[in-house]
Amino acid sequence: MADTPTPPSDFQWQLDGRITVIDHGATFCARDKFAEFMATEAFSVVAFDPANLLGDKPELDSLDEFQRIAHLILGSGEATTFKACLDPALSGTLEPLAAPELSGKARQGAQVLTRLPIDTVTLDSIDGLPNIDWLILDAVNPGLAILEHGLGKLAQTLLVHVRIPFMPTHQQQAGWVDTCQWMSAHGFQCYRLNEVGLHSHLPDDMELEKAQSTQFASAEAVFIPDRARLQVMNTRQSSRLAFLLDTVHGIHDLPWQLLNRVDPDNARRYLISHGYLSGYHDEADTFALTFADSPAPWLSVDQDTDTDTCAKSSTRTAPAGAAS
């Protein structure tokens, strides 16, 4: 226990610079909550968006530390062909499977509307990015090729999300086994599967009273550094991985372990701030509310004490959400 009781609100992330993210396919940036993530001012994001998934989100372009790349993708560095499909989510450089091999929804969406030449760049050759903290890969571009050409950068990468197609939609997609083997051979372990998409074998041309979907169609595999890498991770990396797991996934157990290596007191405050530990017994026996704790919103913090409150506040309105 710390000598000086510390209120739980004193827990602070110590990140030492923004988290660098590459979102290949822009699937993460296309989410509604993306703006909330960016509002934390903790991320610096490069989104490769050849399918224009962010086309209806022009507001993103004005975000600080956000860059959208539309006419270039990651790969081996050689030019390739982009297949623009009816469903933009299925557009990529991999060739969609023939219609008979696809399930109902994908069958129509995978129809190629046009083929466009596109340049690729290797992960390791991206200028201006000394390291990548978090890499997100979709399933419509050659993920393993991207990884193979990014070994240098990946050595320091903390989090990798790979969309795994359990029911393939494109030719030469990297499957679950191939991806896990590659990741395992290069210092990563699979932590868990997220966003599992399920396929239903029930008919889609009948008005069913209820639904059932039972077969894995796809999932997002979450990879973190393997045990050996975790053990030798420095303070900065531990803090950043803890932050990513907490902020992106709402995971608290491993972040505590990572933080505990860096600063046990801060890790304890982390547990208190998330309700795993009570901070009550760490506090003094009395509590006095001060102006610094909770200033009257009709006074500015630096206001002189002899200022007439009412005169000052006569034109002010209470800020929205001031109390929430």
Partner: protein, 408 residues
Amino acid sequence: MSKHNNPGRHGAAHVSRQASAARSYEQKANRLYRDEKLDRAIALLRQAATQSPDNAKLQHKLGLWLSKQKHVDEGIQCYRKALEIDADFAPALIDLAQALGKKNHFDEAVPLVEKALELEPDNASGHLVYGVLKQRQGELDDAVLQFRTSLELRLQHPPRTGRPGKKKKDFNQPATEALLWTTLSTLAKAGVHAFAAFGTLLGLTREGGLLPFDKDIDLGIPNSEMRRACEVLEANGWIEMSDVQPHMINPIPFYHPLEKITLDVSGFVVDRVASRSCEGVWWDNVPWEDNRITEFPPLELEKATSPDDQPIWSLRDPEQWLDVLYGDWRTPDPDFDTIIAARNLRGFSLLTQSYAFSRIHEKWQNGQIGKARALVRHSRRHLPDDTLLRRLDTHFEALQAEAATAAA
């Protein structure tokens, strides 16, 4: 020519039979309504409305009863039907405006009540609803004016005083107290300095438990801890109800759907100019000086334990706190309304006035003359020269005397 204008011999007989049936259904529905069998009353009134589809009054009444049963959207549909039948039917205009106002649809509600008041400038209910809409929009000068106009009109044509409403049902006091202690302890363990306040503190201090019939729990917390408190409460079964009054930023209301208990969490701040801790009812669309602010001595809490030995925070000097808020808190006063009568109000702000005048109206309407008069008398402490309040005081005094004579 329409069927209604010239129904023909057989048609006329049919219409007459329908009208007669509608009257029978309505009469029976009225009896059920008086006996407070609302669901059955509504079912019969629907039958009446079906038999008499061009009767705006029936649709309006159905809307009122449905709204009373919390079927607000269906009630709105009935008001709209009434207005399709008779676009100048003022009661339907007013009640539709009121229902839409509760859903914060002010753009539609305000023109409706304005039209009603053009048609019937002396409609007291219209001015009351207009006042409520203005209040919720933060236009407090107008709100107070409308409430006062409504009361003036009622004084000119005093309504038949309604029967006092049903006594509040008793509540499961042990379960509510258990929830109070659990909630206080959960907040304390999560680092939130929450303490029993207002009616909850009064009950615990004076009665050793929650006040009878007081189903609300009142907690105070440092305003800076409000966000955390909301997170903790929501993670422990409480639902934040801020959407009911989206402009109200303090207190934050919660509801526990399992225990059916409401909780008001009031944020406290420090006004170092006044050397006071303050809380109140604050709306974000109202200038600060027009909000309702109360002033307390500096807020000091100490660690304590609940009856079931859970760690909690409590006020160091609850009696001093109650003195400041209630004055003589040791003597029970069932007519005390803290919003208006608190001893530590910072002035008698426009928001407080709008609460006062609208609540006088409400209590009068409900036949709670004692409560209405108490509100008047507390308001007169702040506005001693107000002639409307003086006349209301006199009127209510006479009503109380009449009631006392009748009882004797």
